[in-house]
């Protein structure tokens, strides 16, 4: 098997027998439904660009398992250069889609599982890493899209998994036999899962011995028996399914965010060769930490690409309103660029400062990766705020495309929403709708909670902060000789 093209990918989705519900209906074919098509198109670009000579250098890599050319979204990072290329790749594609193309989550899950299973086998004498290598080879050979499935519903957040009233609030092993395991529970906010081939389940947080049934990592096709996907709503999603045309959608081709689902795992059987952690609770935390850091690395890449589009759209709005030369507008655009490049700097830095794990796979600098994501939870909101400021209120009050084209009132819409000469009202509306699509509702929440809520990063930042060293530096300068009380 070779790398898939965009159309091979779409074709391969049709071969699945996936159980998807949305708007109270069972969906017959995801690729043919307007609710999902933008997400399919966005993911499809991760395949298509592997064949474009002007992007293939980032989108492809050489497999360390087979030496074959593979899609980089299935690659295990072999150097800091690979980590840097990942960030550039994410910026590249986000600039083309203006939305999430979903494939990074599974990629991060694979990289995390690869290195952690190696360390588990070294300490425990298990064979998880060998199993995982075989699985990875299958993914690379067939160029499959994997949904990274970490987040559990979690119920009462103040309680550990085993203390929940409903034990299914965290995915857990309900049966083990000679063929494999049976798991039950659900995974929430699953990006791109309805248009993926496989899902790679990981525990959602560090676990103690009491919760060992919840320490499970495994993989299976998204259409396995017992798997049900309930698709999540997004801001303005009915603009896609109605007959209102494309302008009101803002980004008709690629939509908003990644298309998330609640995925129910109702007694799902997983054969042993696809099980990569089963009750080794002491390794759950390491897997979460690795996955989270790889995933947080991404945000200064993809969000920089998304912000490139927002900055372009905002500048075009300012031009259409005749305010682009105003000093405060220029200064605000500079601020948007500054925030964007600050995010990008962080992602490049955590990649440059990456290091080899015992498995040979490269891992980002977790302190810097968590710092990037922490910044994303603030800067993207600030970028959106500045964009709203410059774009003006029409972004929130524009009439519909149908009104624009209405035989009686269309002329008024064209007349009164016009800006400078030389820019049509329709083009002005298109840009305003793009800004609206990219800077509100669902799009913002992804920056806050995707890859973990802000507090999750702060916990890791504190853990990596090397405070003891900082106190030593301060004490030395202050002339304090007390060595006993170092942190």
């Amino acid at each position: 098997m070779a790398m898939k093209s965009g159309s091979d990918y779409k074709e391969s989705l049709k071969q699945r027998n996936i159980n998807v519900y949305a708007f109270g209906e069972k969906i017959e074919e995801v690729t043919a439904h307007p609710l999902f098509q933008p997400h399919v198109e966005a993911a499809s670009l991760t395949y298509e660009l592997a064949f474009d000579p002007s992007t293939e250098d980032l989108v492809t890599a050489k497999s360390h398992l087979t030496n074959k050319k593979i899609n980089r979204f299935t690659h295990i990072h072999q150097s800091t250069d690979d980590l840097i290329k990942k960030v550039k790749l994410l910026r590249l594609i986000a600039g083309k889609t203006g939305s999430c193309y979903q494939r990074c989550v599974g990629w991060d899950a694979m990289n995390a599982t690869y290195s952690v299973t190696f360390e588990m086998d070294q300490e425990l004498g298990t064979d998880y890493h060998q199993r995982f290598r075989k699985y990875l080879e299958y993914i690379q050979e067939n160029d499959l899209m994997v949904a990274g499935s970490m987040t559990d519903p979690k119920g009462d957040r103040s309680l550990t998994p085993g203390k929940q009233k409903d034990p299914d609030m965290f995915v857990h092993v309900v049966e083990k036999n000679d063929k494999g395991i049976v798991i039950r529970g659900a995974k929430a906010h699953m990006t791109g899962i309805v248009n993926s081939h496989e899902m790679l389940v990981m525990p959602t947080m560090a676990m103690g011995e009491d919760d060992k049934a919840y320490a499970v990592a495994c993989a299976f096709p998204v259409d396995t028996e017992g798997v049900i996907h309930i698709f999540g709503r997004q801001t303005n999603d009915e603009r896609r399914t109605g007959d209102g045309g494309e302008i009101d959608q803002g980004n008709a081709k690629y939509g908003t965010v990644g298309g998330e689902a609640l995925t129910i795992l109702e007694d799902v059987f997983v054969p042993w060769e696809r099980v990569f952690m089963c009750e080794e609770a002491q390794y759950a935390g390491l897997l979460v930490e690795r996955f989270a850091s790889y995933h947080r690395q991404n945000y200064g890449g993809c969000k920089a690409g998304v912000s490139d589009v927002i900055i372009g759209a905002t500048t075009a709005m300012a031009q259409s309103s005749g305010v682009d030369k105003a000093s405060h507008v220029r200064d605000k655009v500079v601020e948007m660029v500054h925030l964007t490049e600050t995010l990008y700097c962080g992602s490049i830095a955590c990649s440059c400062e990456g290091a080899a794990t015992p498995s040979g796979a490269y891992y980002v600098n977790p302190l810097l990766a968590n710092t990037v994501k922490q910044n994303v939870t603030r800067f993207i909101y600030e970028i959106a705020r500045l964009s709203h400021d410059i774009s003006g209120g029409c972004m929130a009050t524009l009439p519909s495309e149908k009104d624009l084209n209405h035989p009686e009132v269309g002329k008024y819409v064209k007349k009164y929403f016009k800006g400078v000469e030389g820019v049509s009202t329709e083009d002005r509306m298109r840009i305003a709708r793009l800004v609206e699509n990219m800077t509100g509702g669902t799009a913002l929440v992804e920056s806050m909670h995707g890859a973990g809520s802000p507090q999750a990063q702060r916990v890791m930042i504190l853990r990596q902060a090397n405070l003891g060293h900082k106190v030593k530096l301060a004490k030395k300068l202050a002339g304090i000789k007390d060595k006993e009380k170092d942190l």
Binding site: S54, E56, D57, D81, I84, K85, K88, G95, G305
Partner: protein, 101 residues
């Protein structure tokens, strides 16, 4: 003499200051003695590596023949203006090819 096969490798264009595809196609249009081929073509005579910004992060494949490295504003490290770029690349390909044969 047959056409000179120029293997072309472009960077990923993540934040480009120049468009590699249009520069390379202008190279092809400037001199009909050149045949542009994919960088993996085993029969290439010259390897042309193009980066759309000065960071020049594109992966450099192993090749024992002549290699020309172009960025948005340089050819083998020497400054070249955008307008002169296609012609300057052609000149460099011909020079490298002659010195190699």
């Amino acid at each position: 003499m047959g056409k000179i096969k120029v293997g072309v490798k472009l960077c990923g264009h993540c934040n480009p200051l120049a468009d590699g595809l249009s520069i390379v196609s202008a190279v092809g249009a400037t001199h009909n003695g050149l045949e542009l081929v994919h960088w993996e073509d085993p029969d290439k005579d010259v390897l042309l590596i193009f980066s759309a910004c000065p960071s020049n992060c594109v992966s450099k494949p192993d090749f024992s023949g002549p290699i020309i490295i172009v960025t948005d504003s340089t050819i083998n490290g020497a400054k070249v203006s955008a307008q002169q770029m296609p012609e300057a690349i052609v000149e460099m390909v011909l020079a490298e090819r002659n010195s190699d044969s």
